[in-house]
């Protein structure tokens, strides 16, 4: 039984010229302790998807799904809080992610208190210190009385993770958590997340637009475009045998260093640009831009499942990426 | 020129103002304000057509006549009459003209002095600039009413003196807004780029600086319009502004204060018109500001 399973999630917002469909017909399942990835360009709906799972969207959003289960419980709009309480989320910009007017000791204390309402002050303080140490911060004692603006971005991100762990979540969502960080710090944070996942049996959902992050940490990844999850498979398969043209375009656009086939010296880009959120094409969202599109593409393709490789495409790619170029 | 995609998905090139107008139309409150404001403006411009009588014409046999919709009201005195038998509707219209035109005069005077001084100051720089800005900062700590009252104390009561007083009180506001915007824009990279391109002196001022500070200054203009109206009316109400027989909204309310028990319509009808005008101005200025902000966001 997967830790989290959601089928056909749809999220839309009221917009200026009609509804904006941020997420459409997207399904996801995460096993306990698994590290999953979601990759997509900016505006593909990844953040909205994550926040919809946790019930963090503004009340103006319309959220609907066919099936949603978390931790062996059926989730309805009424008991959404089960998911909210069992998960945590960390964001991209540490400046915005920590309350600037409270010390981090205060913030840690508060979150821990909510999770252990009857614990003593000393116990809570101990927990806070151990959390800070867990995320790799040395001499945590001295950090408790300081404010977020007094730390560097990398340290703030670790503090964010510590805060997120305070409620012992079963699922941690990292929404572009490393995008703003320097390369070295980025890999440190990724290592930290992997270690924490293993130690605590905690599932991690990494959301990013950078493939290199996923190859390091995740086993399975989903690809999102214009609010649709188009393909889900093991990360390796996505890189070598993508079935969906969009995935292939994504993969092809990664500049490759080192050993590379001669024919892959051009960067490949799909024609056109990502459509604005209120003008998503009918049917397959990639339709107008896809080099393999045909008449069937005005109808949304069904999700095909082929030994753990799920994709929505009428004309999937059947060959190995490395062997053939088209 | 801006690109606009209409309902049918076709792209058209339209003038930027048209685009802003489309955005503005979506704001219900702002459109309502605009409607009311247009009515006010039309009525005030066409006062000679709308006002049945002169402001100071007294109808001796119709003192304290209630509004036309009340029990003893007469239709020829739409809003009723006051203690001297003057038709309130005409007084409201004529007084409104006085108040609003005085307010516009105030804004014109205050902004020209304030903006010019500020631009001069920032271009010249040095200790002159610093001392002038310090002087205006000091003035700004006072509520504008106190400053205008002081000027009126020097000059004596009267409408023209009140206009000068309120204008002097509003100069610091225009000065500081212009100055902070100017300093802000001067720090921007494009400013340095323009200077490197060779622009200097007057050209730098007119083609580089002024177009970019005109937005906030315009917003300050419109915000100050309602303040100016209020200030002029307040001075009139307190007895320092327009004096009888001059008609001005504040003066009307001030004079009729003593009779508010016998004839409450003398108070609440003129006041209501003033309030509606101010409210409409506020809705419109808020709407314009939101439209401009939204437009920026879309970019």
């Amino acid at each position: 039984m997967p830790l989290l399973q959601i089928e056909e999630l749809n999220v839309s917002f009221p917009g200026l010229n009609g509804e904006i469909r941020a997420v459409s017909n997207s399904s996801l399942s995460i096993e306990a302790g698994e590290i999953r990835g979601i990759i997509g360009e900016s505006g593909s709906g990844k953040s909205v998807f994550a926040q919809a799972l946790l019930g963090l969207l503004s009340p103006t959003a319309k959220v609907s799904y066919d099936y949603f289960s978390f931790d062996n419980q059926l989730i309805t709009p009424g008991n959404q809080h089960i998911v909210t309480q069992g998960s945590s989320i960390i964001f991209q910009d540490p400046d915005n992610s920590l309350n600037p007017s409270k010390t981090i000791g205060n913030q840690l204390h508060e979150s821990l208190y909510l999770h252990h309402p009857h614990a003593s002050k000393d116990f809570l303080k101990e927990q806070a210190l151990s959390l800070l140490q867990d995320v790799g911060l040395s001499s945590p004692e001295s950090l408790l009385g300081l404010y977020p603006h007094q730390f560097a971005a990398g340290v703030n991100q670790r503090i964010m993770i510590a805060l997120a762990l305070a409620c012992s979540p079963k699922l941690l969502i990292a929404d572009e958590a490393t995008t703003n960080l320097d390369m070295t710090i980025q890999s440190q944070i990724l290592e930290l997340l992997t270690r924490l996942s293993q130690e605590r049996g905690m599932a991690v959902l990494t959301i990013t637009h950078d493939f290199s992050i996923l190859t390091e940490t995740t086993d399975t990844t989903s690809v999102m475009y214009c609010g649709y999850i188009l393909e889900t498979s093991s990360t390796e398969t996505l890189l070598t045998h993508p079935k969906h043209p969009y995935t292939r375009a994504l993969v092809n656009s990664i500049p490759q260093l080192g050993l590379v086939k001669k024919s892959r010296t051009h960067l490949y880009a799909l024609p056109g640009s990502v459509p604005p959120a209120d003008k998503i094409p009918v049917g397959c969202p990639l339709g107008p831009r896809c080099p393999r599109a045909g008449r069937e593409c005005v109808k949304l393709p069904e999700m095909t499942h082929k030994d753990n490789h799920h994709f929505r495409c009428h004309f999937p790619i059947e060959f190995n990426l490395w062997e053939d170029q088209r | 020129m801006a690109l606009y995609i209409d309902r049918f998905g076709e792209a058209k090139i339209i003038h930027p103002f048209q685009g802003l107008w489309h955005l503005y139309k979506l704001n219900n409150a702002a459109m309502f304000g605009l409607l009311i404001l247009s009515i006010v403006v039309i009525v005030l411009i066409l006062t000679p057509v709308f006002a049945p009588y002169e402001a100071d014409r007294q109808f001796i046999n119709a003192l304290f006549s209630p509004p036309s919709w009340a029990k003893n009201g007469h239709i020829e005195y739409l809003f009723g009459t006051d203690e001297l038998g003057r038709d309130i509707f005409s007084r409201v219209l004529i007084g409104g003209r006085t108040t609003i035109s005085s307010a516009m005069l105030v804004i014109l005077m205050a902004s020209s002095v304030g903006v010019t001084l500020s631009l001069l100051g920032t271009s010249i720089g040095g200790w002159l600039d610093k001392s002038i800005s310090w002087f205006f900062e000091l003035l700004l700590t006072f509520p504008s009413l106190i400053t205008s009252l002081l000027v009126v104390a020097l000059l004596g009561p009267g409408l023209f003196n009140a206009v000068i007083a309120v204008a002097i009180a509003m100069i610091p506001l225009f000065y500081t807004t212009t100055r902070s915007e100017t300093l802000n824009q001067m720090r921007q990279p494009y400013f340095a780029a323009a200077q490197l391109d060779g622009a200097k002196g007057l050209r730098l001022l007119t083609s580089t600086l002024i177009p970019n500070i005109s937005n906030p200054i315009f917003i300050q203009f419109s915000l100050s319009l309602s303040s100016a109206i209020l200030e002029i009316a307040t001075l009139g109400f307190l007895g320092f502004g327009a004096q009888s027989p001059q008609t001005e909204w504040g003066t009307i309310l001030g004079e009729s204060r003593a009779y508010s028990y016998q004839a409450p319509w003398v108070i609440w009808l003129p006041g209501l018109s003033m309030f509606l005008t101010l409210f409409a101005i506020k809705l419109v200025t808020d709407g314009v500001r939101e439209t401009l902000e939204y437009d920026q966001q879309l970019k």
Binding site: F91, E110 | I146, L149, G271, D286
Partner: protein, 318 residues
């Protein structure tokens, strides 16, 4: 500490500037009456004399009665404070909960009503509103007395200038009655005065709160299991109040303007009313001293708000 001393010095410098402006004002007023050409040196010595006088506590006297300005100032001040302090309290005590209620469900009917009423009240001219209240409640329903501080039949000695305190301190037999009479007369003026600040604070806090709630840390806090109310009150508000504190001096200006008008309408013997009478009489000598005192009070209040702003914002402390 360094900050406090800097603020204090700034206050002194501004006070000095005000004395200069005040002096110029007085000279301008005088010169319109007499045309004696005076050399710059004489101006300087007059200015010096002016400063010395103030140091000794002599701020001039009012023309006909020869009462000392300084004394009058401190008698009228408590009467104004009787109106100002409750208004500020009402503004915050009513404004903050209203803003929170409005923000809980953005664009819900509570929110729409609050925003609409707020803009409405904010554009209400104070003097019109005061008169309307008078008409409805005093002359109309006769719930409250029409004006003045205390009924004439009570002869209460003026000790502090605040009628509420004076009636309590009085030893007369009708002291308690007088107290309630004074109290009843405070209702309408405070209601009039408090309207504008309340509307302002409600609208401002609501808008900043809405902005703050969009920030990521609100979402992560919610994901950590914090209830919505807790987030709004303990996390959202402290951050939303910041910008409002920054505009405190603007609010204070608005409040002073309204106080002058309210005191005029209700014949309230406070500083505003006093100032208006002096302006009307064109008593320049009295105005010179009165202006100094009123300006100092305003500057002091501004400095206090600046210090408050600094203390409440941890970011400014580094």
């Amino acid at each position: 500490m360094l900050f406090m001393s800097k603020q204090f010095i700034r206050l002194l410098v501004m006070l000095l500037g005000i004395t200069l402006l005040d002096f110029i004002f007085f000279e301008l007023a005088q010169s319109s009456n007499t045309l004696i050409p005076v050399s710059p040196l004489e101006y300087l010595s007059s200015y010096q004399q002016f400063l010395f006088q103030m140091f000794q506590g002599d701020f001039g006297t009012i023309h006909p009665s020869n009462e000392a300005i300084l004394q009058q100032f401190f008698i009228k001040l408590p009467a104004s404070l009787e109106l100002i302090i409750p208004s500020i309290l009402i503004a915050w005590l009513v404004g903050v909960p209203l803003a929170v209620m409005a923000v809980k469900k953005p664009l819900g009917w509570v929110d729409r009503i609050v925003q609409f009423l707020g803009s409405l009240i904010y554009s209400l001219p104070v003097f019109w509103w005061g008169l309307i209240l008078l008409i409805i409640f005093s002359t109309g329903l006769e719930w409250f007395p029409v004006g003045g501080r205390l009924d004439y039949i009570y002869d209460i000695q003026t000790q502090t200038g605040s009628a509420l305190i004076d009636t309590l301190l009085s030893t007369q037999s009708y002291a308690n009655e007088a107290f309630f009479d004074a109290l009843s007369r405070t209702f309408l003026p405070i209601l009039t005065l408090a309207m504008l600040p309340t509307a302002y604070i409600t609208l401002q806090i609501r808008s900043h709160l809405e902005e703050t709630l969009q920030y990521d840390y609100m979402k992560s806090a919610k994901a950590r299991g914090m209830s919505h109310s807790r987030i709004i009150w303990l996390h959202g508000l402290p951050n939303a109040i910041q910008p409002v504190l920054n505009s405190m001096s603007l609010q204070f200006s608005m409040l002073i303007t309204s106080t002058i008008i309210v005191e005029f309408i209700y014949s309230w013997p406070g500083l505003g009313h006093w100032f208006l009478v002096l302006v009307q009489r064109q008593d320049y000598l009295a105005l010179r001293g009165a202006l100094m005192l009123i300006a100092s009070a305003i500057l002091l209040a501004n400095t206090v708000t600046d210090i408050l702003k600094y203390w409440s914002n941890p970011r400014l402390q580094r």
